[in-house]
């Protein structure tokens, strides 16, 4: 086993990507994710890889499209406003069926927003961001160790289904240091016969393209793509259940909010309140089934998010509104306190009790 080291989340993502076989990184500086670029700038030349500071986020994502077209692993990273700029390219990647990893270390928005942590790009990550019918494989780490494992996992899943993947973190996770072990990274081999490697005059040309002037053809492309999404919904959801065995109230939180929520749950348990948590690790595909099952057992749900209530909607959908869902939100760069979460958990017992 590799040694434990202390690493910032942003650096852990970068090192994990390299260990996962990603030799190409294109990015543009923006707080609070610049350490990813800085780390790559230092490491890539040493391993014969490519680091390039692009002229813009727009150029960076399109450079990623170039590398992804050749079938190699490539990554870009940014923070919220920069990810908006990448949205066009992300849509093209989805339309061209190109695997790649986009990292969003979120900060407060909309607009230029702030530089403090946020989770307000949830909708952008799971519902689109760019134009057209598409999904990304979206993972939400809650620790520096998970930033390592999920970075590597995201590359594998992206290649397996030929979809772009997004790692959705936030400024807190990006900036914090925790001990990590850099191992257990497996690089899966997937079919790359579609890649642009030059015909070598031995095969028909490969074309990477999202354009069709024939509506029926374009529709069919979408239908085929959604078959892969269906398989992903079946096979790829990931979640963590915490203290759920006897829970009467279920907290749903991802990323850093789930960490704060754990403190609140411990405090609630100390008061005798039976509360647990389902933490979505994949935001798309969303762990619908486990939430739907929980809806039969608990009185109420509490969603804890650093936005005005985005994943909240997916929880209501997944649970078919069978039980009340209470919101616990902070936004703009503010982080909910355990006390705040605890107070909403207590409200949930009251609301749930009235039913």
């Amino acid at each position: 086993m590799a040694d434990k080291v202390l690493m910032k989340g942003n650096e852990a993502i970068a090192e994990a990507a390299i260990m996962a076989g990603c030799n190409f990184y294109f990015g543009y500086p923006i707080t609070p994710q610049t350490e990813v670029a800085a780390y790559m700038a230092k490491r890539m030349p040493k391993i014969g890889g490519t680091f390039l500071q692009a002229e813009s986020e727009v150029a960076a994502i399109n450079m990623c499209i170039g590398v992804a077209s050749t079938g190699k692993r490539v990554m870009t990273s940014s923070s919220s406003p920069g990810v908006s700029l990448k949205a066009e390219g992300i849509s093209y990647m989805a339309g061209c069926d190109l695997p790649a990893l986009i990292v969003n270390v979120q900060r407060g928005g909309p607009g230029l927003g702030g530089i403090q942590p946020s989770q307000s790009d949830y909708f952008q990550a799971v519902k689109g961001g760019g134009h057209g019918d598409y999904h990304l494989f979206v993972v939400a780490p809650a620790s520096v160790q998970e930033m390592v494992s999920l970075t590597a996992h995201a590359f594998n899943v992206a290649e397996k289904y030929r979809v772009p993947a997004m790692l959705l973190a936030d400024g807190t996770l990006g900036q914090m240091m925790e001990p990590v072990v850099l191992d257990n990274i497996t690089v899966e081999e997937h079919d790359k016969s579609w890649a642009l490697t030059g015909t070598k005059m031995e095969r028909e040309h490969n074309v990477i393209n999202s354009l069709s002037m024939l509506p029926e053809e374009l529709e069919q492309w979408n239908i085929d793509r959604f078959k892969r999404y269906e398989a992903m919904e079946e096979q790829e959801p990931m979640w963590e259940e915490y203290e759920m065995e006897d829970a009467e109230v279920c907290v749903v939180a991802f990323g850093i909010s789930s960490r704060v929520s754990k403190n609140a749950i411990m405090a609630a348990r100390a008061k005798g309140l039976k509360v647990g948590m389902i933490r979505p690790i994949t935001l798309w595909p969303f762990p619908k089934k486990v939430l739907r099952a929980a809806a039969d057992k608990v009185k109420a749900f509490v969603t804890v998010e650093m936005n005005m209530g985005q994943m909240f909607e997916d929880v209501e959908l997944a649970t078919r509104c069978l039980k009340p869902v209470l919101k616990c939100n902070r936004t703009g760069g503010c982080i909910p306190t355990p006390e705040h979460v605890l107070s909403v958990i207590e409200d949930a017992f009251n609301v749930g009790g009235e039913q």
């Binding site: 150029a59 642009l196 040309h205």
Partner: protein, 252 residues
């Protein structure tokens, strides 16, 4: 049977061009394909199609192709080239794509001296969307979005890409050519070939600007278009080599 004296280049597919009658895209495609054939690089060439009339170039070239978003072809090409420097990488872009929405990608790939070749087709109008004002439309030129003629006081002046890029330290080779007659077509091919050769030799960024026509959207016959090109386009966009880092050495 007679001897074959003229045939389609191997690097072109059998697909029929969608271009309008009299459009010079066909000639330029052919020149690129002939060069790929002559340099025997079709099998390791990856082309990047852009957005505009040339959006379908991926249907016409037999090499591997990727279709880029509007203006982003040089960034995509950068990725393709960095992925494997043995690839020969070219973009094929129009004036709206290269000189308006993609100006940043153009300038920065040039200043990085990215080892790619850009074929820039300048016909001073947006063809695909039906004849709107381009960054290279001439002063006074009537288009769908400059119905009273391009008014430089409100929309500014046409962009001269070769001149602009020639001020940069980075790019290796910049030349403006046209395809209005046989002599010019031959010169254009020579320039395109040199650009690809430079890339093969690792010499860096080259951009060949081809001053071109758009009979449909200019509202002229193909023949009249060529005259209009000679009388209006060429005075504003003079032909010639704007930069060639290796010119002197070769002349000696």
């Amino acid at each position: 049977m007679g001897e074959v004296v003229f045939k389609k280049p191997h690097s072109l597919t059998d697909n029929q061009f969608h271009y309008c009658p009299g459009c010079t895209h066909g000639i330029i495609h052919r020149l690129v394909a002939e060069v790929l054939d002559e340099l025997q690089i079709e099998g390791r060439t990856i082309g990047v199609a852009s957005v505009g009339c040339s959006v379908f170039t991926y249907n016409y070239f037999k090499c591997d192709m990727v279709q880029a978003a509007h203006g982003r072809a040089p960034a995509v090409a950068t990725g393709v080239k960095r992925s494997d420097p043995n690839n020969i990488v070219f973009t094929y872009q129009g004036d709206g794509d290269l000189a308006s929405i993609g100006t940043a990608e153009t300038v920065h790939s040039a200043t990085r001296n990215e080892n790619i070749t850009i074929i820039f087709v300048n016909n001073a109008i947006y063809g695909m969307t039906g004849g709107q004002m381009a960054p290279t439309s001439l002063p006074g030129q009537v288009t769908q979005t400059s119905p009273y003629g391009r008014d430089v006081k409100t929309v500014g002046y046409p962009v001269r890409i070769c001149e602009m890029l020639s001020e940069l330290e980075g790019p290796t080779y910049l030349e403006r050519v046209t395809v209005d007659n046989v002599k010019h077509v031959n010169a254009a091919k020579k320039a395109i070939k040199k650009a690809f050769q430079y890339q093969m030799e690792g010499k860096g960024f080259s951009l060949i600007e081809v001053v071109s026509t758009c009979p449909t959207n200019w509202g002229m016959t193909p023949e009249k278009s060529l005259e209009w090109l000679q009388e209006n386009m060429l005075p504003y966009y003079p032909l010639g080599v704007y930069k060639d880092k290796y010119a002197e050495k070769e002349d000696k």
